[in-house]
């Protein structure tokens, strides 16, 4: 088969066979094919420009959650904490770096609790006795509860502990400057420092 398709006609496409057809017919399918490819590539290009990070985004509404605190009371982000600045801290008793920030979190909570700031501790994959012991050890008094079934940490795409999200009065995730780049990150990864948190909370409580 295909005796005509050898090297002889190395370059010229076979016009003769199809000369009778109008030019738009000749280019219809190639045009459609090329169009599909170009649209696909164009979409990818646009997508690349708007490429997001996984999980909650800076400036976007914070995913709602509710949990039962260690003292037995229920707490819901949207319902109970609307209009407040909320600091959501994911932690665990087995996590060593969490201990570095535990005292600081309590201290900052005490400083800001009367300025419309609420701290919420979310206990990530832990055993209750150890978690309670940890809370006692660091005298943490802000609302704190276990993340049963890891539902909340999944919503927030927690990758490890500690991680801390800050939510503004409008209920949006606050963007934080990311180290070494001009872009923003939606969370503190690893222990927070006193200066970072205080500066941020000052600014947020004064904002409308």
């Amino acid at each position: 088969m295909d005796s005509i398709t050898t090297n002889e006609e190395f370059s010229a496409p076979h016009e003769a066979v199809v000369e009778a057809r109008p030019i738009w017919r000749r280019w219809l399918w190639p045009g459609v094919g090329l169009g599909i490819v170009l649209v696909f590539l164009g979409l990818l290009t646009l997508g690349l420009r708007t490429a997001g990070v996984p999980g909650p985004q800076a400036g976007q509404p914070a995913p709602d959650f509710s949990l039962t605190l260690f003292d037995g009371k229920p707490l819901s982000l949207r319902q109970d904490l609307a209009g407040k600045v909320v600091v959501v801290n994911f932690w665990a008793s087995w996590c060593t770096p969490c201990r570095d920030e535990a005292k600081l979190l309590e201290q900052t909570w005490q400083d800001y609790r009367n300025k419309g700031v609420v701290f919420v501790g979310i206990n990530y994959v832990d055993t209750e006795p150890e978690a309670r012991a940890y809370i006692q050890e660091y005298h943490n008094t802000y609302p704190n509860g276990p993340d049963l079934g890891s539902k909340i940490s999944h919503q927030y795409r927690v990758q490890g502990v500690p991680e801390t999200f800050v939510i503004d009065k409008q209920g949006n995730i606050v963007g934080l400057p990311a180290a070494g780049t001009s872009s923003q990150t939606p969370k503190f990864t690893g222990p927070v420092t006193a200066n970072q948190l205080a500066a941020l909370l000052d600014q947020l409580t004064q904002a409308p």
Binding site: T5, H14, L34, L41, L44, G47
Partner: protein, 663 residues
């Protein structure tokens, strides 16, 4: 040592570029010496790449934490196999691994093809080298895996806990072998388009490579499912995650391709279509790597956000425009001389199969990039969940199963509708009886019943091929049944290997239908001594066990399993706390039988004392998916094995066909 590794990839890049240029110039200017030089340079480039990978393995095994990649993917006390597999555990290494596999394919193709296809090979080599050069460029300029730290850490951070699993040894290499393997048929397709040699030489030459790539990709997809099932603890094997989809997409077009090339080989039809399919397959492979590395789509599998997106998109654009341009340029040569003569013919059913595969591919692609598209046009990232995929893909796969069942009833070239209907009677009756039996046994869900019936139908018609063929052979030669069966398969490997793969797909279909429609789930908190019920199982919580090593702490909840009052064993679902990464892994315990899997995880350690929350699933028929996987590999090996000495396919196949089908 790390600097030597870097030097190897730099030299590899130089050799690849040299080879590409020389091959193209040599073949255009008809200077055989240059072509030969280009070929040798390709071997050198490939060798250097393999050398770089070996160097990386050396650094990993000697725990040279001064090298950033080693420090980020390994740690002291990490098991040997995880240290070896760290080569593909993170971004830079996985790109090096990819290049290495491509290098391996390049060496094999050049050595196997040697002096054949003198016109195609230089072009194919240059396309292979273009791809290799692209990946090496990324390694040399953007992601140097041999980058050194300014200090020497005492210990590394270790591999991502999700990757610390036995599957790590086999799943990614399989997937990569599959992905990268499609570069070979793509390269020869491009060579055919460039030279205008558009007969089926390129298809025959690359058939073995296509089959190898397809087998590895199939295994990679299935092993990925197995890994998710064994490790992720949500009781499923497929979550329609973008990266899972990225591995499925080229599989779909490749499956369509290996069917439609048969039509081209026999009938000279579908030439453009085959070109489009192989370009789509290769394009989807590159698209998959783009997807996982660009941050366009969020996924549990995605590598850390990186600046590689534009590079990969650029390469994808280059490749697609080149390929589409060439197809358009050669479209008159690609026109087929034959037409499908009858709708009831094998070529028609292959074409239908192709349509269905491409249909699934579009649906999955749409669902995968939908979050991105919705973000572009509405600003919101709307993720499309499993229900979308199940609703669109499920029915198309069901139709595919039906078409697969018709295949043995239809010959090449076409049968009359009457004949076809006559052959349909027996399988239809058998399926009807089977469906009725299933209904009486308690399968009342309509879709499940349809699914099982389709599996029965296809199973029946396909197994009949083996039975009838064996009987016919026995009558003709007087061999015993086993001998007759073995000889039947051996005489026509391609055909019967293909049927074995179809039976494997029936198995997988059974597993999917069973586990989709009849899964059960119970979650309950248990204190030691308490029990929970699921199906006819009783699970009694015996107590907690702990265990730890340098890398992680394990918690086992031990459960005594009884079934219908009989104790059948103890299972221990576990939670692993990875200390360095601050991460928890939930490892399910699975008790697997052909009828169903009992699948239990520790869902929470949330109340006082020793109480644990367990989630138990019953997943019916899941084992058949993995059995199907094994059979699929076996079938493909039989089908792809090069026929030794004997003059293969066309003649014997036609004879056997007449002997064993009743058409």
């Amino acid at each position: 040592m790390a600097d030597i590794g870097y030097l190897l990839i730099v030299l590899g890049l130089a050799a690849a570029v040299y080879s590409m240029v020389t091959s193209v110039y040599g073949v255009s200017a008809r200077r055989p010496a240059l072509v030969l030089s280009g070929r040798n340079a390709a071997l050198v480039a490939a060798g250097l790449t393999v050398g770089a990978a070996l160097m990386m393995e050396f650094l990993l095994l000697t725990h040279d934490f001064n090298v950033r990649y080693v420090a980020e993917t390994t740690q002291l006390g990490q098991s040997l196999y995880l240290t070896i597999t760290a080569l593909w555990g993170a971004q830079a290494g996985s790109l090096l691994f990819w290049s290495t596999i491509l290098a391996g394919y390049t060496i094999s193709v050049i050595l196997v093809t040697r002096n054949q296809h003198r016109d195609l090979l230089p072009w194919a080599t240059s396309v292979l080298m273009l791809t290799l050069a692209f990946f090496l460029t990324v390694l040399v300029f953007l992601r140097n895996p041999f980058e050194r730290l300014t200090f020497i850490p005492a210990d590394g951070t270790g591999l991502n806990p999700l990757l610390q699993h036995g599957g790590m040894m086999i799943h990614p290499p399989n997937l990569y072998m599959g992905f990268v393997g499609f570069t070979v048929p793509f390269a020869f397709a491009m060579a055919a388009l460039i030279t205008g040699r558009l007969d089926d030489t390129w298809i025959r030459t690359t058939r073995i490579w296509t089959m190898i790539a397809w087998t590895f990709l199939s295994m990679g997809v299935l092993l990925g499912g197995r890994w998710a099932y064994d490790v992720l603890g949500w009781g499923g094997y497929w979550g329609w995650d973008p990266v899972e989809n990225a591995s499925l997409l080229p599989w779909l077009t490749a499956t369509a391709f290996i069917h439609s090339v048969m039509v081209q080989e026999r009938k000279g039809m579908l030439k453009i279509w085959n070109m489009i399919l192989i370009v789509a397959t290769y394009g989807l492979v590159i698209f998959g790597t783009f997807l996982t590395r660009s941050g366009v789509i969020s996924s549990v599998h995605a590598f850390a956000l990186s600046n590689l997106g534009p590079m990969f998109l650029g390469f994808l654009t280059l490749v697609l425009l080149m390929a589409v341009g060439l197809i358009i340029y050669r479209r008159d040569l690609l026109r087929s001389k034959n037409q499908v003569e009858s709708l009831v013919s094998r070529e028609a059913s292959f074409l239908l199969n192709n349509m269905l595969m491409v249909g699934v591919c579009f649906a999955v692609l749409w669902g995968t990039i939908f979050p991105m598209i919705s973000e572009i046009f509405t600003g919101d990232k709307i993720t499309v969940g499993p229900p979308f995929f199940n609703k669109t893909v499920g029915p198309i796969f069901a139709l595919t199963m039906l078409v697969m069942g018709f295949i043995p009833l239809i010959g090449w070239g076409g049968a009359t509708t009457e004949k076809f209907l006559r052959h349909l009677i027996r399988p239809a009756i058998a399926t009807g009886i089977g469906a009725l039996a299933l209904f009486l046994l308690g399968v009342h869900q309509v879709y499940a019943l349809i699914g099982f019936s389709l599996c029965l139908f296809t199973g029946y018609t396909t197994v009949s091929e083996f039975v009838n063929g064996t009987i016919a052979r026995r009558r003709a030669t007087g061999e015993n049944p086993f001998q007759a069966l073995v000889n039947l398969i051996q005489r026509n490997r391609r055909r019967y290997g293909g049927y074995l793969v179809h039976i494997a797909v029936v198995f997988i279909g059974l597993g999917i239908v069973g586990s989709q429609f009849y899964k059960q789930e119970v979650t309950q908190a248990l204190s030691p001594g308490e029990s929970m019920q699921i199906g006819d199982y009783t699970l009694t919580y015996l107590g907690l066990q702990q265990d730890s090593d340098l890398v992680k702490q394990d918690l086992y909840g031990q459960l005594m399993v009884s079934q219908g009052g009989q104790q059948v064993g103890v299972i221990s679902p576990q939670q692993e706390f990875f200390t360095a990464a601050n991460q928890v892994m939930t490892i399910p315990a699975i008790r697997s039988t052909p009828k169903e899997d009992l699948y239990v995880i520790v869902a929470g350690i949330d109340t006082q004392s020793n109480s644990l929350t367990f989630t138990a699933h019953i997943n019916p028929l899941v084992m058949w998916i993995w059995l199907g996987g094994v059979l699929l590999i076996l079938g493909t090996i039989i089908a792809a094995w090069p026929a030794a000495r004997r003059e293969p396919a066309p003649v014997t196949e036609a004879v056997a066909e007449r002997a064993s089908t009743r058409i």
